[in-house]
């Protein structure tokens, strides 16, 4: 039979073309499944060549998996350019094609003695249970109709895909889509010629045309790939010459956007100190999530991340090209990174200054309230009591004495409240007797047992002592108010050029540093000193407030 010979010789050419091109594309862009599916199609094709064997079991196996390569090829075409099927419809289409080849086709083989090849000297079909011509006709017609439907739908989807493709997708995948469309047409023609059953020669011509198109597809893709490489190489070269002219801020982004033909391209810069990406103005940048159609390619220079290119996956194409463009621009990106870092620092300073102002205003307002509601009210009552006592002095001396005694208590309370207020403004014990004594005083005044860990006995810069004091004071106040703790531990240690203040309790935990003006106020004080405030407070595991302030 001439057909089996043609299939065998054409087979290797087709199969290795797919495998080789697929592996090349896969290695070039490992995260993109298109290459993998291409290689898989080639392997499945080669595997199906055992169908020309004279050994019955191999022959039958060849028939069973004989169409699988077509399904992977369809999946590959529909998965371009990013390696994912795009819609539920496409996923269902591919899934039903798999069901058709892997489940329905074998059923057909149970009843068809001769299987796909209409030949007399073919080996036996080992799956044959009982030859049944009626069932063969029914199954055959059903399979043909289903396969035809799949082919026509894929044809329509591919035409749409080709029309919608722009930029890198059009350049790289356009020819592949076109050859896919041609293949679908050839397949429809094959089915039509078979149905008309005019001559087996015509059917063979249509079939061989389809297979030739299938065989050409990887080479078409390879040619597009080569052309894209040339274009990309040119783009990188042009980018390098543009960078030589020392681009102004903003121009670098435009240059990279041109090189990658992605107008939506964004550049973000890495800040190692605060371990985050910021945009060119220094504002924090949230990297896109996976599956959002945008991807992130980090740019490194001398082993350090300096920036990242955020790009549209459908426009820019393969990752290695983005990397190449990034590498070409690494030095310029490093310069812009320094700029962005400076801007981020300025922005941070501005925000912290604003917070300090706000905190200051809030503190003054709170102070006025406290004075008004506390000491002032007590003094008002005191004035009234004294006036009443004076009026009673003559005719009710005992009543006057009681009033005066009450007035004395009121005065004591007023004095205590004033002292408390003054301490909140500036703790005298701190400036006069140092941090250790001040912290001891705080520990003594707390309404729960406080264990003192190490606290430096030498003097530290005043601003740092004050910050440490307020961290301990605020944290202990919070412990007493909210933690429901049986005790707390306070320590202040000097460590690697930093002063680390820690207040831990054994209470209920669950404190949220974002809420509560007290903790936020502390965080702002820390920011001004370039320090950090961390609150660990898992529910049920107590709360640890830790402040770390640079101190030479």
């Amino acid at each position: 039979m001439p057909l089996r010979g043609v299939v065998a010789s054409l087979g290797l050419f087709v199969g290795w073309g797919w495998v080789g091109t697929g592996l090349l594309a896969w290695s070039r862009d490992p995260e993109n499944r298109v290459g993998m599916l291409m290689a898989a199609t080639g392997f499945l094709w080669l595997l199906s060549l055992v169908g020309v064997s004279d050994i019955a079991i191999l022959f039958t196996f060849g028939q069973v998996i004989g169409s699988l390569f077509f399904v992977t090829a369809v999946q590959m075409l529909l998965s371009a350019p990013d390696g994912h099927l795009h819609t539920t419809f496409e996923r269902r289409l591919v899934a039903s094609a798999y069901v058709l080849t892997l489940l329905v086709l074998p059923l057909y083989l149970f009843v068809d003695p001769q299987s796909a090849f209409d030949c007399d000297d073919c080996p036996d079909n080992v799956l044959l249970i009982s030859a049944n011509d009626t069932l063969v006709d029914v199954f055959g017609a059903g399979l043909d109709a289903a396969a035809l439907t799949v082919v026509v739908v894929v044809f329509v989807v591919l035409i749409r895909r080709y029309r919608g493709a722009a930029g890198a997708e059009r350049r790289l995948y356009g020819p592949l889509y076109l050859s896919g469309i041609a293949l679908m047409v050839a397949l429809v023609a094959t089915v039509a010629v078979n149905a008309a059953a005019t001559s087996s020669d015509a059917a063979n011509v249509a079939w061989i045309t389809a297979m030739a198109l299938l065989g050409l597809m990887p080479y078409v893709f390879l040619a597009a790939l080569a052309r894209v490489r040339v274009l990309q190489g040119g783009a990188v070269g042009e980018l390098i010459s543009r960078l030589g002219e020392a681009p102004r801020p903003g121009e670098l982004r435009d240059a990279l956007a041109d090189a990658l033909s992605d107008p939506s391209l964004e550049l973000v810069y890495w800040l190692p100190d605060s371990t985050r990406f910021v945009d060119g103005t220094g504002r924090p940048f949230a990297l896109p999530k996976q599956g959002s159609g945008r991807a992130v390619a980090p740019v490194e220079r001398e082993g350090e991340t300096v920036a990242a290119i955020v790009y549209d996956t459908s426009l820019t194409g393969a990752r290695d090209h983005v990397r190449a463009v990034g590498a070409a621009a690494a030095l310029a990106l490093e310069n812009e990174r320094l700029d962005a870092e400076l801007r981020a620092k300025l922005e941070e300073l501005r925000a912290s200054r604003e917070r300090m102002l706000r905190v200051g205003l809030e503190e003054r307002r709170r102070l006025e309230r406290n004075l008004h509601d506390g000491a002032q009210q007590r003094l008002v009552s005191l004035a009234l009591s004294l006036r009443l006592a004076r009026s009673k002095l003559r005719h009710d001396p005992t009543g006057a004495e009681t009033l005066l005694a009450e007035a004395g208590h009121e005065l004591d309370s007023a004095l205590e409240e004033l002292r408390e207020l003054a301490r909140g403004l500036h703790p005298a014990v701190l400036s006069e007797r140092g941090l250790r004594t001040a912290i001891e005083t705080l520990a003594l005044r707390a309404p729960l047992p406080v264990r003192l860990g190490p606290v430096p006995s030498e003097r530290l810069p005043e601003a740092i002592e004050l910050a440490a004091y307020f961290v301990v004071s605020e944290a202990l106040t919070n412990v007493a108010k909210y933690a429901d703790a049986t005790g707390a531990t306070v320590s202040i240690e000097r460590h690697n050029g930093r002063v680390v203040v820690a207040v831990a309790d054994d209470g209920v935990g669950g404190a949220d540093p974002a809420r509560g003006s007290g903790l936020r106020g502390l965080a702002d004080r820390m920011a001004v000193l370039e320090g950090r405030l961390e609150v660990e407070s898992e529910p049920g595991k107590g709360t640890t407030v830790k402040a770390s302030i640079p101190c030479a």
Binding site: H372, Q377, L379, L384, R387, L388
Partner: protein, 116 residues
């Protein structure tokens, strides 16, 4: 007949001192209220002849309370008070029923009677 007074202030210590002082000087303190809305309610219920009204209250301020309780004809005489200075408060309002202002520390029966 003693003059009936309602004391409105959010500080209990002031309400207690003022009650003691005014009762010692022959006033009848018929009630106390800690905020504006309960003050308006108490005025309707107790029909006092005078209301000693703190300017700063936790809900609505004293001026607003004064405006509301003097809205109908048979309104009590209102005397505003505060621990702040009168100059820090701005204008006291136009109503004829608002008789004047006494700083908290200068409160006395005589001062109150002078405004009635």
């Amino acid at each position: 007949m003693a003059i009936t007074v309602l004391i409105v202030d959010d500080h209990p210590s002031f309400r207690a001192s003022a009650r003691m002082l005014l009762e010692a000087e022959g006033f009848e303190v018929v009630g106390e209220a800690p905020d504006g809305l309960s003050a308006i309610e108490a005025v309707h219920e107790l029909q006092p002849q005078m209301v000693l009204l703190d300017v700063q209250l936790p809900d609505i301020d004293g001026f607003e309370v004064a405006a509301r309780i003097t809205a109908n004809g048979a309104a009590p005489a209102v005397v505003l008070t505060s621990s702040r200075d009168v100059d820090d408060l701005g204008p006291l309002g136009e109503s004829a029923q608002v008789r004047g202002f006494i700083p908290k520390s200068e409160l006395s029966g005589a001062a109150l009677e002078a405004l009635l």
